[in-house]
Symmetry: C2
Subunit: 344 residues, 2 copies
């Protein structure tokens, strides 16, 4: 914030508001000033907010931004940082009008996101709980998959099992893709039946106590072909190479390169159409991105995914993904599920 010469920061992105205050509702705003922090919400959340949030709590009958503007004026603040990738043009224009001349709104990106990228022990414990529900739901569901079951039924069962294990919801739309559909990196589960002789890709995550997990595993119905085994082995080698590169101080681009180089050796680099991973926490996608041109260096306490894949149109695709904690000396793979190609 100092580098932007902002005296205060308005935080409106829901995950960052939750991170700063613990507020889990849908209508909250935080104003951080040098001396105090203020929290704004509407009357529905009055009791909860006043009891639990360690800020000056304002219950707003009108708009949250209006009330925040009044505080800014009362405190004679002149340069207010805001999150340009979270603030819409409409509230922004209203806020500007409300503040009037003499008060400047300064775009400030990534301040809270940077704090959020390194997890506290309490946050890591929550991610472990999400990872555990995720893997356990996978284990329970997979034992019921057999030829003739629809992709959407497997997805529904995975989501149900995660819920029964304490998750609030899936961290994203669970992907269950079979046969040639495994070559679509963002396949929605359909009414297609999973058939003998097919690859099966499951990409799933749990949100538990606000925190997320992310895992991809592959199965094959019946004995896989040589080509499938070769594809699987190449992606697994790439994933292990990515994990081996994870260590504090390493630029994320090097982790991405480590996975990419292995696929290149197998002439599969063009089949790897996405980045190697992403941070996760209160959001399923948060900093750092593990990608080609990203310069961020890993720090102990970051939690990231390592998930290379290779996709061959008309044949199928393979992706293998773990949730990984960066430690002082390297990393810990949080996901306990085996990475052997499962034969059903």
């Amino acid at each position: 914030m100092a580098s932007h010469k902002a005296e205060a920061l308005l935080v409106s992105s829901p995950a960052s508001v939750r991170y700063l205050t613990g507020y889990t509702g849908s209508n909250g705003l935080v104003l951080i000033t040098p001396l105090e922090s203020y929290f704004f919400t509407d009357p529905r959340y009055a009791t909860d907010a006043q009891a639990n949030i360690d800020c000056k709590v304002h219950i707003c009958r009108k708009g949250l931004f209006e009330e925040a503007a009044a505080v800014v004026k009362r405190k004679h603040l002149k340069r207010i940082g805001f999150e340009p990738s979270w603030m819409q043009v409409e509230p922004f224009e209203k806020l500007k009008t409300k503040l009037g001349t003499g008060i400047k709104l300064v775009p400030v990106s990534g301040v809270v996101e940077n704090l959020r990228a390194v997890k506290s022990p309490a946050e890591i414990a929550r991610i472990r709980a999400a990872v555990s529900a995720n893997s356990e739901a996978f284990r329970k569901t997979l034992s019921r998959v057999k030829p003739g079951v629809r992709e959407m039924d497997v997805a529904a069962e995975l989501d149900f099992q995660m819920r029964m294990l304490g998750a609030e919801k899936p961290a994203f739309e669970t992907i269950v893709a079979s046969g040639a559909r495994t070559a679509l990196p963002h396949a929605h589960p359909t009414s297609k039946k999973i058939e003998a002789g097919e690859l099966l890709l499951i990409d799933m995550g749990a949100t538990l106590d606000g925190y997320t997990s992310d895992m991809t595993r592959m199965a094959h119905l019946g004995a896989p072909s040589k080509r499938t085994i070769a594809l699987y082995k190449a992606v697994l080698a790439a994933q292990l190479a990515g994990i081996a590169a994870v260590k504090p101080g390493v630029p994320v681009s090097r982790v991405d390169a480590a996975a990419r180089e292995v696929l290149k050796r197998h002439e599969l680099d063009k089949a790897f159409v996405h980045s190697t991973g992403h941070g996760l926490g209160l959001e399923i996608h948060e900093g750092p991105r593990i990608a080609k041109k990203e310069k961020t260096k890993l720090r102990a306490g970051m939690v990231i995914t390592i998930e290379p894949g290779a996709y061959i149109e008309g044949f199928g695709g393979v992706r293998i993904e773990d949730t990984v904690l960066v430690t002082e000396t390297g990393c810990e793979i949080l996901t306990p599920t085996s990475k052997q190609l499962i034969e059903i």
Copy 2:
């Protein structure tokens, strides 16, 4: 658009993009000009978009807005409408820079939303399908509720059943609240067990083929007290009064007032802390809002919820909600589930 003197419109809200093009992915942008419509997306969706979208399809290697800006310049368009409640400050500023001087960005609100408020027969058919999965999942799940079951387990079962009936997902976080927690209009399901002698509130919706449903029903474990019965009857009378007021040409505020007046007669108007309903379709909340000061007049083809409630802290709350289609002569209640207070 004419009233804003905009020659073209940039549509970036995902539901409106889907409405205009059928695109169901997460990265689409539409530019409507007098002669042509353009659709912008990234390479992941190339095959799908080129085959299925009836616009000039641009597959963008860089940003979607950058590419749209290039089209605007090439076509010599000078005034471009955009959606101020959907466009964030960051892409907006980039777009402005890219367009340069001489091209004006004009905030234009609600153009596509107004079209979306009146549903086509095909859309109504999809909403009926969502309503049907919703009610059927409710019926199947309710037969399994008994004292000792946790709220979160009932929610998980409802969501699972909706999925098995073809829904992609719940239309919103399913609410299952029991006992005094029914007095919280936005209760999250918890590990609290549902006990004999308690009220049970279930507020659920399905998203099926992109379209949503919304329903709230009440049950009671064991015989309800006189006070509970009186509360239930008052809310039911309010809900029926709201429905009776639904007809083309009627301002939505009058529907809200019809429900509110009944609760006032029962001295429950202060216990009714939200609005009477909302439109639904591709989004669970869309136009029109059925609320006090709203001036919109109902039109045949609108699909709305009617959902008055009364909430008494420490005792409990009742809400009853149907999904309702405005017809030429009045309305049709789409939700088939009975509105008797269910005794378990």
